[in-house]
């Protein structure tokens, strides 16, 4: 009997020790209540804070914490602290709590948290996700909630703004934007006797072939893959469109003459050995290839400046607008991120105030310092901004958004696979795009 008691006591002691350790560790690591728990302390409808017992009836101080999730890079996140400081200074009583996520896993974390009722108040989302989340009913329609919406909307570039439109309402505001332009390797060009980057699509094709030597492994043009983002600039610059303006059908649009012409251009370059075969996977990346002389031109975004500065500091990067139609109309594709407010937030006013601030000139300028292209059209050509912004912001005036639709991901896949089929030769561009049109129409039902 004594032995059993001893053992039981020992086991119990072990278990207790473990539990106590856990408890102690947990309390030193901080309060177990989540941040949203702190948020629930006050509601925005009350004008008196729940825990303050002031006798004087002065301006009531509203204690609110707004959570903001984002996927900014580390330098951008560091600058974000300055933006938050500025906001908090101007709005005493509101604290902004940012959480940084890695891009690849962000969507999973976001959706799980929303499903669990523990989502953030605001977040910076990839523009492609906004219609998706809006359709689910997760987002607040900002045009209905934000008093200053119309004013803000007219001050940003139209392309980025359009990415927030779904079902007649705007579910976010463009926080930062980017687009793709042409990067050309000056050394490779001059070695072939060309001093200027191609201005028209025709010139682009001939230049690409002039600079290609597939035996040596050099190509006039390199693309990162067949996902729509890659051919999109040439596609839009050629006058192509995926669907009609009302987003009702793709027939006659994605397989229309201009769209087909764009893809015929690219497929032709591939077949003639002017476009690197790495487009179908497993080759030198576009960034390294461009800097090391494998690809004379690539089409990419403003983040290349940072990448080259760190990985290839000796390489001089040159930007040029996307080659245009013969009549001079150029275009490109819009990328970037939108700031959204979630429908189940209980800090609505504070969240809206924070959103508004992110669209202010002050915030946009601060973030521009770390290479984030602003969405305020008024800042185009501003001398305080980094020099290389100029070509991007000019391009943004004509750049187009991809289809703002919850099923965009599948549409992207349809075009992606069509492009692969063209390159592999199993279908002509027209045939491949006809099939894509059918697939996209099915998604628009």
């Amino acid at each position: 009997m004594r032995q059993r008691n001893q053992t039981v006591w020992r086991l119990a002691a072990l278990a207790t020790a473990l539990v106590l350790t856990l408890g102690a560790c947990d309390s030193t690591a901080g309060d177990a209540t989540s941040t949203t728990g702190a948020v629930e302390v006050t509601t925005t409808t009350a004008t008196q804070p729940a825990d303050e017992t002031t006798t004087t009836e002065e301006t009531p101080v509203e204690e609110a914490t707004v959570t903001y999730w984002h996927t900014m890079s580390e330098p951008e996140a560091a600058q974000l602290d300055a933006v938050i400081a500025a906001f908090e200074g101007a709005n005493p009583g509101i604290t902004v709590e940012p959480t940084r996520y890695a891009y690849d896993d962000f969507k999973a974390a976001l959706t799980t948290s929303i499903a669990g009722g523990e989502g953030p108040d605001t977040a910076r989302l990839d523009i492609i996700w906004v219609p998706e989340f809006a359709e689910l009913g997760a987002l607040l329609p900002l045009d209905g909630e934000l008093a200053s919406f119309d004013e803000t909307a007219s001050s940003v570039f139209p392309g980025p703004l359009a990415t927030n439109l779904w079902d007649g309402s705007y579910y976010g505001l463009p926080q930062n934007t980017n687009t793709q332009v042409l990067l050309w390797n000056r050394d490779m060009f001059e070695a072939a006797g060309i001093t200027e980057p191609p201005a028209t699509l025709e010139e682009f094709a001939t230049t690409a072939c002039a600079l290609s030597d597939s035996d040596a492994g050099t190509y006039g043009y390199g693309m990162g893959g067949t996902y729509f983002w890659a051919p999109a600039p040439i596609f839009y610059s050629s006058g192509g469109a995926v669907v009609d303006e009302g987003i009702t059908t793709a027939t006659g649009y994605v397989n229309g003459p201009e769209s087909v012409a764009a893809f015929e251009l690219l497929t032709g370059l591939y077949n003639d050995g002017c476009l690197s075969p790495s487009i179908l996977g497993g080759g030198v990346g576009t960034a390294e290839g461009h800097a090391t002389g494998a690809y004379a031109t690539i089409i990419d975004g403003p983040w290349m400046v940072d990448i080259y500065r760190n990985d290839f500091p000796d390489f001089e990067v040159n930007f040029a607008p996307i080659p245009a139609e013969p009549d001079g109309t150029t275009s490109s594709v819009v990328g970037g991120e939108n700031v959204v407010v979630f429908a189940d937030t209980d800090q609505k006013d504070a969240a809206l105030a924070w959103t508004e601030f992110l669209l202010s000139e002050e915030s946009q300028r601060l973030l521009a310092e770390v290479g984030v292209v602003p969405t305020l059209s008024g800042l185009a050509g501003d001398p305080a901004l980094p020099e290389y912004f100029e070509v991007f912001m000019a391009q943004l005036e004509t750049a187009q958004a991809r289809v703002p639709h919850p099923r965009w991901g599948d549409m992207d896949t349809a075009i992606n696979e069509a492009f692969q089929r063209m390159l592999q030769g199993t279908q002509t561009p027209q045939e491949a795009l006809d099939q894509a049109a059918e697939e996209i129409n099915a998604l628009l039902q």
Binding site: K107, T111, E132, L280, G281, G282, A343, Q420
Partner: protein, 331 residues
Amino acid sequence: MTQTPADPVLHSGRDRQALTTSNRTESLGRPEPPGPPRGRRRAGVAWLFLLPGVALFAVFVLGPMIYSFRISLYDWNLVTPDRSEWLGFANYARALGDPTFQRAVVNTIAYTAVTVPAQMILGTALAVLLNKAIRGRAVYRVLYYLPVVTPWVIVALLFKFLFVGQGGFVNHILRNVLGVVDHDILWLADPLLIFAPIMALGIWKGLGWTAVIVLAGLQIIPAELEDAAKVDGAGPWQRFRFVTLPLLRPTLVFLFVVLVVGGLNAYVSNLLITDGGQPFGQTHFVLTLMYQETFTRLDFGYGAAISYLLTALVFMISVVQLRLLRRRVDL
């Protein structure tokens, strides 16, 4: 103390001996200790041991499993679940009829069929070698364990990098060092060849894991048995086959079941190397397809259905394995 077990076939030879001993003891007429009948007290004590584990399991696994199953029967609305549309088993039917899903099942089974035997054979051989009393044994053990310890995400991207077509490391070796091929193989662009890095990665990572478990299993085998066999003139292979292997059997059965479960559930390596089933969605594993459906396309009901179909497959295969291999083996 030992009761007559419900199924005597289940116990190993050593326990058979023990049984006879206990029978002998019982027949000596030892008085039963006072208290409630042995059967009920036994069960009560048993549940005391079982309770913490079972409780945790019920709360964090069983409950969620049922919830997941429920999700799979709806077109699940993430934000307002009440608005979810009832689909019955439509999600399941959809999956079974989907060529992408079917291809994913084939891919997953092929992957398991290749990597599991490779890990078991190589892992056991490795464990035998690591068990020998040679100098520096601990160092070798650590070295072979390193792949196990490195996170999947890191090594998947690393292997992807090594298998890059133009100018990749593997191509460099094959082409320039070994001279086996004369042009760069585009591993990552081909829907079949892309499985080479994925399988290599699976085997590479599982080798040390398997070896550790077999190593632990080898410790139970008394050295005297092997020495006796050696004295009897048995060669190393014979000793392995007739002494080591039979006594390793429970460990190997355990490994076989667990490795198959792991193989069928593989997904991180595939997700990162194929970028989500590229090209044309032909290179999916069942779980990468599920991940894509759930977290990229936000079709939670469908994703849940896919994972339940996988679970059913895994369960069926495991039951078959255990049934076939369980005779005279403890589990």
